[in-house]
Amino acid sequence: MSYEIDKTWSAALLDQPETGMGYQIVEVQIPQGAEHVVVLNAQRAMEVQESPRRFREGANQARKMRVDLALKSKREDTPFRVLELREAVTKGLVETRAYAAGKEPASEATPVQSGAGEEFLRFSAFKDDARIDHADGSVLPGTYVTTQTDGLRVKTGKEAVERYALPNPDPAVHRFWLKPPRQVQVRRGTVQPANGHQGSGDEVIFDNGAPAGTKQKQDEIPPGE
């Protein structure tokens, strides 16, 4: 469910840049303080129920309702500003795909077969990554990895934390080189902003795992600053 905002608000928002493709995260000043709302296509605001969990939890319901009311009314002199994506992430407002239009997470992708001989990487702060059988080199079902192309951009463990939006702040310095000996079922997508990080890296889910011989080697990258 979403609701249409007043045309005066639409006009004001069209004068402002987008936060992301097709949406703006708007900070509206109401007498009780600043509130945030997501506006799609400068026309429709997302209702509270649709907003990400973190957004919901942090918000006061009554204040949210006042924002809804304000946006359905003529704007007049209600102060507002549109947030840039980075600021929205910093404020903890951005967490789910709702704010990453066009770049869906792997969990919502259609399963496909991996490419023949395709290689992947996985990063972890743990040397003994629990999803990989280090004896036979197989990988458990439901394990997240990244494409080799994307993973090779990551030079430090801290960069891996940011690019793959990892909740563990420890640098993910352990890098696992994975090459399934035969094609496996995967889902491909983009890491969504989460855990105070922007994400944006490639993510791939090994739906049914990967067979023995998938792990080629592991090495370590610098932790980074």
Binding site: R97, F123, A172, E203
Partner: protein
């Protein structure tokens, strides 16, 4: 605060899919009746909890289940 899980929970989590690279989002039920939503388990073995949860040890955990994917 971090809690290293007992082997029964590690085994259970290894059989379940990840929520992202190297972690799973879980709902934790504690012996005192509290339910901790959206907690994070790293590498299927380390439960990461907010400091305001208070002291929790591995033996306090009576159930762990994956959080549904957020949409």
């Amino acid at each position: 605060m971090r809690v290293t899980l007992d082997s029964q929970w590690m085994d259970k989590l290894r059989r379940l899919p990840e929520s992202g690279m190297g972690y799973q989002r879980v709902r934790v039920k504690l012996r005192d009746g509290r339910v901790l939503d959206d907690a994070v388990v790293l590498n299927a073995q380390v439960l990461q909890l907010a400091d305001d949860v208070g002291a929790v040890v591995a033996q306090d955990i009576v159930d762990l289940e994956l959080e549904p994917v957020k949409r």
